[in-house]
């Protein structure tokens, strides 16, 4: 009967490997900084795992990472990633790791060429019987394109040097199957950040996670709370990091982790090529999302934004469009305003509609040449290739300083405005009101081709709940449209004050 290792439990970060810009050499100082940042909240370290870009590291580099890890770990165990495509190379890496002082080796299922189940067994058997170092098997089908077969694990678990298995699949049916068959002999670790809590509750011994270098404190608490049976609190914590964990698992992996660490002041450089720092697996939009989530977690300070919702006479709010109260009146334009939502989700929409021949037609065309830097207008669309009619521009009243703000305008604000317009359009059709003509307060058919609209949108710069924002914009835009289209066209707009 194999003996379990007493230290093999708890929280282990799968460390990124920092590189110097341009040369792509390992940045040892940054690596030490990173380890010191995580150390208080972890039970050990994992070097050159998948998050550590092991396939891009030389054998010597991997050995060096273990050396540094052991130097910095203050006696905590260091698990060395020793993954390789060939058995021969995996053995060499494991030997290096042992000499460098590693406590165990983490070894992935052999990849690229796909060996049979027999080949997979022989791979681990050869390593375990050649090198005297505890081995943790590693299932990560997302990159290896295959599962480590449970039946193979079942047999490998009998070998004295096989002490654990890390399952990064996120497939809890597989994790449960392993717990059923081998948890009496080896320790199962969860390697998928999105399902840590259910896996712990299901009986795994610990976690090896990319995100355990970003919020090791959260995972340490989750680990202890589950051990104490305090599931309610553990659930709340897991949920607080769910989105970030999802981003790390699905939308960028180690690249996204490096982006997060950089925002927290730990510059780990870029990944090695062909991976891009941003714009590849990690897209710009997602990187902006990481910042939002780190703010929520309190990992980085929130930028306070001073701003105001437009107030005063509604007819005086369209100066940016060079539309004056007198112009509104002279050209029989329609205006309306609406406010909805609370706190970060409060939205104000000030809307103007008018004939294409009026100065509003000029303003519409001019806005698409971007005269207001940082406040670029965009077309109201339900989705790409579904532009609303009458043609409508969305013009943010606050400068869009970063993608985080832009993410709230593109998408949620844009499509909610569009939806409110099409709703108002449908209500204005004869068919929608029993065939007798338009409904008061809604867009008449004649406006579809004859008019354009511009909606000034004031969205809180720190808004982050897209669903709530969509609802607020839709409600505010609906109010604004109702007001704009309620009076007879040509009614003196100056007489209509907001609220």
């Amino acid at each position: 009967m194999p003996v379990k290792l007493p230290w093999l439990k708890g929280v282990f970060p799968a460390l990124v490997t920092p590189f110097v810009k341009k040369t792509e050499e390992i940045d040892e100082d940054a690596y030490r900084l990173l380890i010191r940042h995580t150390l208080p909240n972890v039970d050990g370290l994992v070097t050159s795992g998948t998050t550590g870009e092991f396939p891009y590291l030389t054998r010597e580099e991997q050995r060096r990472l273990v050396v540094i890890g052991v130097e910095e770990a203050g006696g905590k165990p260091v698990i060395a990633g020793c993954g390789a495509s060939s058995t021969q190379e995996a053995i060499a890496l494991a030997r290096d790791a042992k000499e460098a002082g590693a406590s165990a080796a983490l070894i992935v299922t052999p990849y690229f060429l796909h060996p049979s189940d027999k080949g997979v067994y022989q791979h681990f058997y050869d390593i375990a019987t050649t090198v005297d170092l505890p081995i943790i098997l590693y299932n990560i089908p997302q990159v290896m394109d295959r599962y480590l077969p449970r039946t193979v694990v079942e047999d490998l678990a009998d070998l004295p040097n096989i002490v654990g298995l890390k399952d990064s699949s996120g497939d809890l049916t597989y994790t449960m199957e392993l717990l059923e068959y081998v948890s009496d002999r080896i320790d199962i670790f969860i390697g998928h950040d999105e399902v840590v809590l259910p896996a712990l509750a299901g009986g795994v011994s610990g976690m090896i996670l990319a995100s355990a270098q970003v919020y090791p404190d959260v995972w340490q608490k989750v680990f202890r709370l589950v051990a104490e049976g305090r599931l309610e609190e553990a659930r709340a914590l897991q949920r607080s990091v769910q989105k970030l964990s999802r981003i790390f698992c699905r939308y960028g992996g180690g690249v996204a982790v490096k982006a997060a660490l950089k925002m927290m002041g730990l510059d780990m450089g870029r990944p090695r090529k062909p991976l891009k720092g941003v714009g590849g697996a990690l897209i710009h939009e997602t990187r902006a999302e990481i910042r939002l989530e780190l703010e929520k977690l309190g990992k980085i300070p929130v930028e306070e934004a001073a701003f105001e919702y437009p107030s005063g006479l509604l007819v005086e709010r369209f100066g940016d469009l060079e539309i004056t109260p007198a112009g509104l009146a002279a050209h029989h334009m329609r205006v309306g305003s609406g406010v909805a939502g609370e706190g970060l989700n409060k939205v104000q929409i000030d809307l103007v509609a008018g004939g294409k021949e009026t100065p509003l037609g000029d303003a519409y065309a001019l806005q698409l040449t971007y005269p207001l830097h940082g406040r670029e207008a965009l077309t109201a669309i339900l989705e790409p290739a579904l532009t609303v009619r009458p043609a409508t521009l969305l013009l943010p009243t606050l400068p869009q300083k970063n993608l985080r703000q832009a993410n709230m305008i593109y998408g949620p604000t844009q499509s909610a405005l569009a939806r409110a317009i099409v709703d108002a359009l449908e209500a204005g059709l004869p068919s929608a009101s029993g065939g007798t003509g338009g409904v008061k307060g809604h867009i008449p058919p004649a406006a579809v081709d004859g008019e354009v609209m511009v909606a000034l949108a004031t969205v809180h710069p720190r808004a982050l709940d897209r669903h709530a924002l969509y609802q607020s914009v839709h409600a505010a835009a609906t109010q604004a449209l109702a007001q704009a289209f309620s009076g007879a066209r040509g009614e003196e707009p100056g007489t209509r004050e907001e609220e």
Partner: protein, 490 residues
């Protein structure tokens, strides 16, 4: 032991089933479609996958087959789709088709619940007892079950009334295994429009195709060319229609075929829900399918009058029933173009078209006299005068190259081809101006793709601006289901 019939060869369209606006079988339109394809085909298949059999009641399926049999009246064989999920229903419907006079039945692998292969075999064995010749139908994309070669072989060799196999998987190694095992014993039909020519060249007896509703004549050419050993001609035509059939096969074939037929002037309604316009067959695919049909001569030019206020310009454009015969309102027209994939290289063009002495012309002159240079605006064409505006601030040399060289070249190509095809007639080039507000993603890499996507987006945006698309009706139909990709958090 199955057998090979003399009649089961050549091109068979998998007929779409037209529905009326109130969602009933549109028998008149169905007859018109059958008359349209009949001169070019060796047989027809009513109520196949493209015929939306899975959305029809048994009574409707029977009626569709009856109408088809009546309209065809013996001129070509009629192979009725009679596959159902359960053996019991499949046998009953196949018995009905036998009595109604169908030449044969096309029977899909039982789907949704995934029977094992011996269960599938016994399903077909029960069908075999009906006595109507039948074709085994492999379409893993929908049925979820991909025949193994030994299952297909067993059925073809064991069952007395098996006369063929239709393989829609597009999996040529599977098809080659069929040739190895059962060639000459039953007919082997290809059902994947993208690999028709290679399958025929390798020995397939014929094809049952969704796109044979649209281009039966082309497929007949390909079939005959292969029979005559003229592979060069067969390859030429396959390649010529490759994009069209890729759109059909990959983009919700039934709706794509229906919209294509409608563009060609046949009175065909939409697919039944949950298939819907702007769904699998996306809005951006619409323009591409249309261009392909134009290129093949399936959509004809028609005279259109542009009313520029004081003056009228006559032109000829490839017109669909949606194209207005008089176009006015040149003060300001808005068209949106969108083309992808891939994500990083997708193109999004907000296009404004309008008179030079109107809002568009004035905005161009004012911006160029003011902030134009600082913000990276550029005039890229004089006829019509065209202003290129970057949606995203250009920061790097790579972005600059992709935007001002490749995206700009794409926009200009879209304009040039719109001039050639009549949508931008010579008579308006000195009167109208364009503003193209163009999005190139900061992470874009593939230069030619940026160019192609911007060409497509621009060409379609010009047409949408002129034709007033999307229409209010389209907006209202799709407003609830519309899904803006950036509306959701990751």
């Amino acid at each position: 032991m199955g057998y090979k019939t003399e009649w089961l060869k050549g091109i068979f369209p998998a007929l779409i089933t037209p529905f009326t606006p109130d969602d009933r079988l549109d028998e008149e339109a169905y007859r018109e479609l059958i008359r349209f394809v009949l001169p070019h085909v060796n047989g027809v298949v009513p109520c196949g996958t493209t015929g939306e059999f899975s959305y029809m009641t048994l009574e409707e399926r029977k009626r569709a087959v009856e109408v088809c049999l009546d309209e065809v009246s013996g001129r070509v064989p009629v192979v009725a789709g009679t596959g159902c999920q359960s053996t019991r229903e499949t046998v009953a419907l196949t018995e009905w088709a036998r009595d109604a006079g169908a030449s044969g039945a096309l029977i899909v692998a039982p789907y949704f619940l995934k029977p094992t292969f011996n269960e599938v075999y016994d399903h077909f064995r029960a069908v075999d007892q009906v006595g109507l010749p039948f074709i085994l139908y492999n379409i893993p994309q929908c049925a979820g079950t991909h025949f193994k070669w030994w299952t297909a072989e067993g059925m073809a060799l064991d069952l007395d009334n098996a006369i063929g196999i239709k393989d829609s998987s597009g999996d040529l190694p599977f098809m080659d295994a069929m040739f190895e095992k059962v060639k000459g014993k039953v007919s082997i039909f290809v059902g994947h429009d993208e690999v028709v020519q290679p399958a025929l060249a390798a020995g397939a007896d014929g094809a049952i195709l969704a796109s044979a509703n649209l281009i039966p004549d082309v497929w007949q050419r390909v079939y005959r060319a292969v029979q005559e050993g003229d592979l060069e001609t067969a390859q030429y035509w396959q390649q010529r229609v490759q994009k069209l059939v890729r759109i059909v096969v990959r983009c919700s074939s039934t709706q794509a075929v229906k919209e294509g037929l409608r563009m060609m002037g046949l009175p065909i309604g939409d697919s039944r829900h949950p298939i819907m316009p702007g769904g699998g067959f996306k809005r951006e695919d619409y323009g591409e399918l249309r261009l392909q049909l134009e290129m093949l001569g399936k959509i004809k030019k028609a005279p259109v009058t542009y009313d520029l206020g004081g003056r009228q310009v006559e032109t000829e454009v490839f017109a669909t029933p949606q194209t207005p015969r008089t176009i006015s309102g040149f003060t300001l027209k808005v068209g949106e173009g969108f083309a992808g994939p891939p994500f990083q290289e997708l193109a999004h063009v907000d296009l404004l078209m309008g008179l030079k002495d109107g809002p568009v012309g004035r905005a161009i002159e004012r911006s160029m006299a003011g902030w134009g240079e600082e913000r990276g605006l550029r005039i890229i064409n004089e006829r019509p005068r065209t202003l290129l505006v970057p949606t995203v601030t250009i920061r790097t040399a790579k972005q600059r190259r992709l935007f001002y060289e490749h995206a700009a070249e794409g926009v200009n190509l879209g304009i040039r081809l719109s001039i050639e095809d009549g949508f931008l007639p010579e008579g308006i080039l000195d009167d109208v101006a364009l503003i193209a507000n163009v999005f190139v993603h900061p992470a874009a890499s593939i230069a030619k793709r940026v160019e192609f996507n911007n060409y497509k987006a621009t060409r379609h945006a010009i047409r949408k601006a002129l034709e007033g698309r999307p229409t209010v009706e389209e907006l209202i139909n799709e407003k609830a289901a519309a899904r803006h990709p950036f509306r959701y958090a990751p």
